[in-house]
């Protein structure tokens, strides 16, 4: 109860404070600001309710909301008024209310007053009950959450006591243990972790299951003991509550005026779970509804579907019809009255004895008629539509085909009322990464120092996965396009390695490598369980033999200390070392061990592990750095770089030959032996990690089974993005193993050299502006500050150290490497690989100190922090030395090409909008069959708008020439309807647009020509598109082409596009839940889109359409009965049916069957819809609900009502029939007609239909009989006492009902029969298919598919009037 008041007070306070503090809050960087910003509305001050703060606390913190949440709309007291108030915001309900009020006017009163209220009350009650139940479940949830317990520091008892969540206030200290949920947003002040880290899982917030690190506020992390709230004497100032999850700004001011900046790294968010950390203490800064999580909760959103919009216009037609009918009644009544010279005595004078003039009587009659014929406006339609949609969504959500085993997720319908839009999609805008592809990054190849390593073995391993997959799917005929593509490329490039490679020898090869000492955790981890981004496909990387060899030499060299050999490798080795170090370090991956959930890996002592003394390692690295610094001419590098790949490969093959002989093999093992001697307990564990990895990869390969697998330690990497994980796994394959990560240091187990612990100075996280991330570490060996940067090649290449004036060898070398790497990068992109550049930079201490100064300033500022941090990062990331590049493959999701093909056959245009580079995008487009090999691809890439316009018109011209050439033969065949669209058989064009060109294209002046162009293209691929451009494109197509659009994506960058599209589909994939949160439908796999659209879309659309049409029919037919009667009762507004039965007819007797029909009807079985995507065009083009269909339905309704009225009329003409005895057969016949009409329209009748229809009929009879038997004295109006009983024994009643029903339904029945025989629609033909045996069906479908291209399309094109841009 108190909440709204408190809320209002809070609002008021805020309002006042914003006004007051407007002027002063602008200069917040100075120290002065602190004083003034106390009153500023932009910031909030958090102080504990303890000690000397007590008074101020009362003043400040009490104004903030406490942690009690109330998400319910209503309370017990205000439910009724508030719910009614909200319901009367709907026009439909207002219409009802209007009728009720109208009926209270005595002059026009048509029904009993109570009766008119009945429909309104029914509708209001249904909705109110629904709202109430929803709200009640929210209430229960709130209560449960509010009463969760947490430990809050109590001043009285001087310890943490259990307290309900709702009693937590801003400024409270909260102590949480592992796996507890965070009750409010709080700043982390203490963590049991010695490094001051706390891990949280944000699954409750965004669905991401990987761990996020949070850090204790600087200054507090050094404290050994737990923070004592009593001694806490700082104030926290932070920004006012906002819903930005990724941002938190503020600072802590200690009592000595020292300030420490706060960022989102210090904030624990409500709803997240503490993991891996024994205990944390934090101070609450935002509570309850002001927490970021709650502010982000926008709840489900409502969209209006296309069908609904159409229904609304048709309802307007109904209103017009109603007015017309009422006018007829009014005028008729006037004329009828004026026919009499004196008023006849059956026309009762007014109570005061006077008679009213015909004109006035006519006017009154108009309103009476509106009340009488009110049912014409199918207000119950809205309620029914809502119920039907709920039913449809229930069925969609329960479709087992959408269930994805791995993620235990199924389809989620987040928007409840646009399911039928799924049946009308014309354009699909798809993201690439994570939507079409799995977003499971697999390390494919890399280039280091200009030398490419193509990881042939890894490719083979991946292929074996593919085979397994395809066998599982029993679609063995289809091999994933990308992989075949890939292997061809391999064959081309690394020809020497292409010779059939014995898998066994490969394993031996990888297995025969010396094991680095990793004795400490060996043998305690089973390799089971699956974690974020860590399926075996991704984790197991088989190293490239060539690279491995080189890599191996590092250890052996350092072992042998042979100066000669080391100089031979020198620079390249250094590059390789640095490259892998960068892969392992330059990320934000969290390391844990699987069987101890979320237990952080930590090397307790460094001294125990190293095999070699630290001194040795240092020597080695110093040697490297000396080489680099002295930049002496390095023959070895030259040699290696000038060497042709083939000679390298030949070397390699020799090496392999050697290995193949057992003796040598043993020798190598022997050579490796010494390394292990330091750790004798390790020796029983035979070979190595990678053996297992490789073997896991080839589990289904019989060769692999010969290996004795031993349990090995398995570190679990949890990364924010799958790319990172892939790179860390790749590094790990080369024994550069990321062992642990704390905020201060990173430990890497480096290929037999032992653990190196880097002091982690900074992480400059990834952002979309810089398109790169960096880590700043202090190298343990060289002790210099090193920046490792990885990022997109487009930005990285510009940041490299350029060979300026000094043309010394090193820089020449750099340039060469750069060129070579660029070549490799282009090559990778062409193969659809995602590319990243890795670079490093060594900073002198002075440089670092200078930068650090600036950076620190940036970190502590509140207002401009992002910009400053960005600038700071940019300042650091210059003059980089390129180390190499990686190519990561993002595999296509299962079934994507099939799905895309099917969707295209369904007449849906698919656009791919991606942020990736052009080559990658085009390659993926080919792989997923978006582009076909024989398509003509036009690429739009121009610098200026004018050039762009020119290119586009040229392309258009070209296409037109082509199509017209192709059109001729078809015209010869008499194909008059030959479509001007892209799909003219034989020619298809694809359009590829670059992000920069997109900007020009989206300019107003070019939009039209661009759309015209895209209309002619089979597929459009937009690469390098920003999220904004994506949404602009969608909006453009949606608004200009008036097309139904669907956007599908999985990441945060797709959110805007998903929100703009008519239907937004989110893929709950690897990138968290942001897309899902914004979407209307969430699926787990792209391929599910096929069934969602082709089957459920089609069904939902046809079902709802048919139901809506049926509703119109039903109401018009029924109301017209009353209307016809007006012609025989002097337009006086009499109804020949009892008012109760009249009202209940719609409410009870005929309401359930249409709903069942709308939920369950199935015109074509799912299997056939899946196999014949062409059927989708039926719903896409709204064939079932054209304007003509609406009018035909009304016409039929008129006919049926005429029959239904006039058959009894003529039967009883001139007889002694009384009003209700006359109405009863009419009403009963109407019931039969309306229900049997439904049966005719029903495409599939299940037992539910049968039960409901028979139930409706029985209910009608039982009700009318009971009604007729009671209420003998019901005063108003003259009652229908005993009429049904009397009729039940009267044969004429039955004869009339039967005749009426037959005559009324005959035309529609005949029409359906003729449609089923002579003019078969594709749907009917599809239904026939269902009757056939499987073999026949297969045959028929095959024939149909061929046939459809010629026949069906013409048909559809002819019926569609929607294409706005025809060929000009």
């Amino acid at each position: 109860m108190a909440d709204p008041i408190q809320w209002a007070r809070y609002r008021w306070q805020r309002l006042i404070s914003t006004e007051g503090g407007e002027g002063s809050s602008s200069s917040s960087s100075s120290n002065k600001c602190y004083q003034s910003s106390k009153t500023s509305g932009k910031h909030r001050i958090v102080i504990p309710c303890l000690g000397h703060f007590k008074e101020e606390y009362e003043k400040v913190s009490k104004l903030y909301m406490n942690n009690k949440i109330r998400t319910t709309k209503y309370t017990l007291l205000n439910f009724l008024p508030r719910n009614l108030f909200e319901q009367f915001h709907r026009v439909a309900n207002l219409y009802f209310l209007f009728l009720v009020v109208l009926n209270w006017v005595p002059l026009v009163e048509a029904f009993q007053k109570e009766i008119t209220m009945l429909p309104l009350i029914a509708v209001l009650t249904i909705i109110a009950v629904k709202d109430g139940l929803e709200d009640y479940s929210k209430y229960k949830m709130d209560k449960r959450i509010n009463n969760l317990l947490t430990k809050v520091y109590s001043r009285k008892e001087k310890k943490y006591i259990d307290e309900c969540w709702k009693n937590v206030n801003v400024g409270d200290f909260i102590r949480l243990s592992r796996n507890e949920i965070i009750p409010a947003d709080m700043v982390l002040l203490y963590s049991s972790d010695p490094d001051g880290i706390c891990y949280i899982e944000t699954a409750g917030l965004d669905g991401e299951t990987n761990l996020k690190q949070r850090q204790v506020v600087r200054g507090y992390s050094e404290q050994v003991s737990e923070i004592d709230p009593e001694k806490f004497s700082s104030r926290i100032e932070c920004e006012s509550p906002n819903n930005d999850l990724t941002r938190f700004r503020g600072f802590v001011e200690h009592s000595n005026k020292d300030r420490v900046g706060l960022s989102k790294e210090n904030l624990l968010l409500r709803g997240c779970t503490v993991r891996n950390t024994e205990a944390v203490v934090g101070i609450v800064v935002y509570a309850g509804h002001e927490t970021k999580a709650m502010l982000n909760n926008s709840g489900p959103h409502y969209k209006r579907s296309k069908l609904e919009r159409k229904v609304n216009t048709d309802i307007l037609w109904c209103v017009l019809l109603l007015i017309l009918m009422c006018l007829t009644g009014a005028i008729g009544h006037g004329i009828w009255l004026s026919r009499y010279s004196e008023i006849p005595f059956f026309n009762i004078p007014e109570p005061d004895g006077k008679l009213i003039s015909p004109t006035l009587a006519g006017f009154n009659m108009f309103w009476t008629m509106i009340i009488l014929l009110q049912v014409l406006i199918p207000v119950s339609l809205y309620v029914s539509i809502e119920i039907v949609k709920l039913g449809q969504i229930y069925l969609i959500q329960n479709d087992i085909d959408f269930y994805h085993e791995k993620t235990d997720s199924t389809v989620q319908c987040r928007a409840l009322n646009i399911a039928e839009d799924l049946g009308q999609i014309q354009y699909i805008f798809s993201d690439k990464t994570g939507t079409l592809t799995e977003n499971k990054m697999v390390f494919r190849r890399c280039s280091i120092a200009g030398q490419e390593y193509c990881h042939e073995e890894n490719a083979k391993r991946l292929e074996s996965y593919q085979e397994v997959n395809s066998e599982d799917e029993d679609s063995a005929d289809r091999q994933c396009g990308s992989s075949t593509h890939m292997s061809e490329w391999h064959g081309h490039n690394c020809s020497a390695v292409n010779e059939p490679l014995n898998r066994k020898s490969l394993h031996q090869l990888s297995g025969s490598y010396p094991a680095p000492g990793r004795e400490d955790r060996a043998g305690d981890v089973p390799h089971s369980g699956h974690f974020a981004f860590s399926s075996p496909i991704e984790t197991d990387v088989v190293p490239d033999t060539q690279l491995l060899e080189k890599f191996n030499q590092i250890s052996s060299h350092s072992c042998q200390q042979s100066e000669e050999a080391s100089s031979n490798l020198s620079l390249e080795t250094m590059y390789i070392t640095d490259f892998f170090l960068a892969l392992a370090i330059c990320n934000t991956v969290v390391v844990s061990v699987p069987n101890q959930p979320r237990k952080k890996m930590r090397l307790s002592s460094l001294g125990r592990t190293p095999i070699k003394s630290l001194e040795e390692i240092r020597q080695m690295f110093q040697r490297f750095s000396v080489w680099r610094l002295s930049s002496s001419p390095l023959p070895s590098v030259k040699e290696s770089s000038s060497e042709s790949p083939s000679s390298f490969v030949s070397k390699l093959s020799i090496f392999r030959m050697k290995l193949a002989s057992p003796a040598l093999d043993g020798a190598v093992q022997g050579a490796a032996e010494p390394l292990n001697t330091d750790s004798p307990e390790n020796s029983p564990v035979p070979q190595e990690l990678d053996i297992v990895n490789a073997a896991v990869g080839c589990e289904h390969n019989s060769a692999a089974s010969s290996f004795e697998l031993s349990p090995l330690p398995k570190l679990c990497y949890e990364a924010e993005s799958p790319d990172e994980a892939a790179l860390v796994h790749a590094a790990r394959a080369y024994k550069c193993i990321l062992q642990s990560r704390t905020p201060d240091q990173v430990t890497v187990d480096f290929a037999g050299l032992g653990s190196l612990t880097f002091q982690l100075l900074h992480i400059l996280p990834f952002d979309s502006v810089r398109k790169r991330m960096s880590v700043v570490v202090r190298h343990p060996v060289s002790n210099s500050v090193v920046v490792y940067t990885k990022g997109a090649d487009s930005v990285m290449m510009d940041l490299l150290r350029t060979a300026s004036e000094g043309t010394n060898n090193s820089e020449m070398e750099q340039k060469k490497i750069k060129e070579r790497t660029q070549k490799h990068l282009d090559d990778y992109a062409r193969r659809g690989l995602r590319t990243l550049c890795v670079a490093k930079k060594v900073l002198s201490d002075a440089e670092y100190a200078e930068w650090l100064n600036h950076h620190f300033l940036a970190e502590t500022s509140i207002d401009n922090r992002e910009v400053l941090l960005l600038e700071s990062a940019i300042r650091l990331e210059t003059e980089l030395t390129l180390l190499g590049a990686t190519g990561i493959e993002d595999r296509l999701q299962e079934g994507v090409p099939d799905t895309i093909q099917a969707l295209r056959k369904a007449g849906i245009k698919i656009w791919m909008l991606t942020g990736d580079k052009r080559e990658t995008a085009v390659n993926i487009a080919y792989a997923c069959k978006l582009l076909e090999p024989d398509d003509r691809i036009f690429t739009l890439k121009s610098q200026s708008r004018d050039a762009c316009a020119l290119v586009m018109s040229k392309i258009l011209e070209g296409i037109q020439k082509n199509t017209s050439a192709k059109k001729k033969p078809s015209q010869k065949l008499g194909n008059v309807f030959a479509s001007p669209s892209t799909q003219a058989p034989g020619f298809s064009a694809g359009l590829v647009i670059d992000g920069r060109t997109l900007e020009h294209v989206l300019h107003d002046s070019l939009q039209n020509i661009f759309l015209e162009l895209t209309e002619k293209c089979r597929a459009v691929v937009c690469c390098r598109a920003t999220p904004l451009q994506k949404s602009v494109l969608v909006r453009l197509v949606r608004n200009k082409l008036k097309a139904m659009t669907l956007a599908v994506g999985d990441g945060a960058n797709d959110v805007s596009m998903i929100q703009v599209a008519d239907t937004g589909v989110g893929i709950s994939g690897q990138e968290g839940m942001q897309a899902v949160m914004a979407s209307d439908f969430a699926i787990s796999q792209f391929r599910h889109l096929r069934k969602l659209l082709l089957v459920h879309g089609h069904w939902c659309y046809t079902r709802l359409t048919n139901m809506v049409l049926y509703f119109f029919y039903k109401n018009v037919a029924y109301v017209n009965l009353l209307f016809w009667y007006q012609f025989f009762c002097g337009f006086s507004g009499t109804s020949m049916t009892d008012y109760w039965i009249l009202i209940l007819f719609n409410l009870l007797f005929t309401s359930v069957p249409p709903i069942i029909y709308g939920v369950l009807d199935k015109d074509v079985p799912a299997e056939i819809l899946m196999q014949l995507p062409q059927l989708y065009m039926m719903s896409q083009k709204s064939v079932a609900y054209l304007p003509s269909t609406f009018w035909m339905t009304l016409l039929d309704a008129f006919y049926q009502s005429l029959v239904c009225f006039f058959v009894p009329y003529f039967t009883y003409y001139g007889s002694d029939i009384d009003i209700f005895s006359f109405g009863n057969p009419i009403n009963t016949a109407a019931l039969f007609i309306i229900l049997f009409h439904l049966l005719i329209e029903c495409k599939s009748v299940t037992w539910i239909h049968t039960v409901v229809i028979i139930g409706s009929i029985l209910f009608y009879f039982v009700f009318t009989l009971a009604f007729g038997a009671t209420f003998k004295t019901r005063n108003q109006p003259s009652n229908s006492y005993w009429i049904m009983e009397k009729h039940m024994t009267d044969p004429v009643f039955y004869l009339v009902c039967i005749l009426t029903t037959c005559v009324a339904l005959l035309p529609r029945y005949l029409l359906r029969v003729l449609q089923g025989t002579l003019f078969m629609s594709p749907v009917v033909r599809a239904k026939h298919l269902d009757r056939l045996t499987p073999e026949e069906q297969k045959e028929a479908i095959k024939r149909w598919k061929d046939d459809f291209i010629v026949n069906g399309r013409v048909e559809f094109q002819a019926t569609s009037g929607s294409s706005t841009f025809c060929s000009s």
Partner: protein
């Protein structure tokens, strides 16, 4: 609300992602049930309307409807019906003199109409009066009654429903029966004589049994009270304005007087259409040897009280025998025959269509 729900999940001890909890066998999956209903695989009858499949239906309808129609038609034709219009608008009519009677005329205007029955009426004969252009179904007219009063409710008797306005209270006394319907009750008296050799033999007209049993015995009740004296029971009420006599003087027999007077009950059952007839009397067949009404001359004596001229109404007297299906009406029979024939014809057409085009459906061939 997503946060709330997932928080709940967490609180339940089911980590939503399943991360970090290896195994955990009893974790509930979100996998939908594989039931026929949820997977929309309920066994269904999927009628495909083609010429072939519906052929039998058309023929069957045709074959059933035509005989029914013939039966009804014959029955209807066997019904004897005789109708006399006695409105008297034509100057030649004997009742012309009475045309302008009004409600308040004290002396009844009587007229006699002679007529001849060509055929004898074999079975029981029903005597109706018919009115035309009389809108007994006018909305306000229909409402203008008080069923509680008519059911003998004493409080309603003295305080009739507002619906009866302006025929509710007259001279400060409640009207019984109130309302426009009662007020406009048909009050002509018809008497039938057979003219046998210039002697007028009155034909017994039975006035009981013309109303529905339920109306007479359940719906319409006289007010209850001490004794059976209707006059006393209706004490405190006044007669409807247009009536010459109060309601308790409608008939001499006590079980046909007051609200349960059958003429009154019949009138109160308002007709559905502006042209209607109402049962007036029954003529029962006396014995099996003689027809109820033999062919010959008859005369109808009319006490002409009911004014219909003001609204161009017509008054008729109808004599009719009835069958199981009521009075004479050829429409139903003809309609059945017509519809049956149409169905049969359509059946033939569909048969042709089926022969020409039907084959391709069964083999699911694709048309050209």
């Amino acid at each position: 609300m997503a946060v709330n729900y997932s928080v709940k999940e967490e609180a339940d001890g089911h980590p939503s992602g399943g991360v970090g909890v290896p195994g955990g066998g009893a974790v509930k999956t979100r996998k939908p049930d594989n039931t026929a209903f949820k997977q929309q695989r309920l066994p269904a009858w999927q009628p495909i309307l083609t010429a072939g499949t519906v052929l039998p239906a058309f023929f069957i309808i045709g074959l059933i409807f035509i005989p029914i129609g013939i039966g009804i038609f014959v029955t209807s034709n066997n019904i004897r019906e005789y109708e006399i219009d006695y409105t008297g608008t034509e100057p030649s009519s004997p009742c012309n003199k009475c045309l302008n009677v009004s409600w308040d005329s004290t002396t009844p205007c009587t007229c006699t109409i002679n007529f001849t029955l060509e055929h004898s009426f074999e079975s029981n004969v029903f005597m109706y009066y018919g009115l035309s252009n009389f809108y007994q179904n006018h909305r306000r007219y229909v409402k203008s009654r008080d069923d509680s009063q008519l059911n003998g409710d004493n409080s309603s008797l003295l305080n009739p429903s507002k619906e009866c306005e302006p025929y509710r209270i007259n001279e400060d006394k409640p009207i019984a029966p109130c309302g426009a319907i009662a007020n406009s009750m048909f009050n002509d008296t018809l008497e039938l004589y057979r003219i046998d050799n210039d002697t007028r033999i009155p034909i017994t007209l039975i006035k009981k049994g013309i109303a529905w049993w339920t109306d007479k015995n359940v719906k319409f009740r006289n007010p209850t009270g001490d004794g059976n004296n209707l006059t006393a029971l209706f004490q405190g009420t006044t007669k409807p304005v247009n009536w010459p006599k109060p309601v308790y003087m409608l008939d001499s027999e006590p079980d046909n007087n007051g609200f349960i007077n059958e003429d009154f009950i019949v009138w109160m059952r308002t007709a559905a259409l502006p042209t209607f007839r109402k049962l007036y009397r029954l003529i029962e067949r006396k014995n099996n040897l003689q027809p109820t009404l033999q062919a010959g001359k008859y005369s109808l004596d009319i006490a002409y009280n009911y004014p219909v001229h003001s609204f161009d109404g017509r008054k008729r007297m109808i004599l009719s025998t009835i069958s199981w299906m009521g009075g004479k009406n050829p429409f139903l029979g003809i309609a059945y025959i017509t519809v049956g024939s149409i169905c049969f014809f359509l059946g033939v057409v569909l048969l042709i269509i089926h022969h020409k085009y039907g084959n391709r459906n069964t083999s699911a061939d694709i048309p050209n």
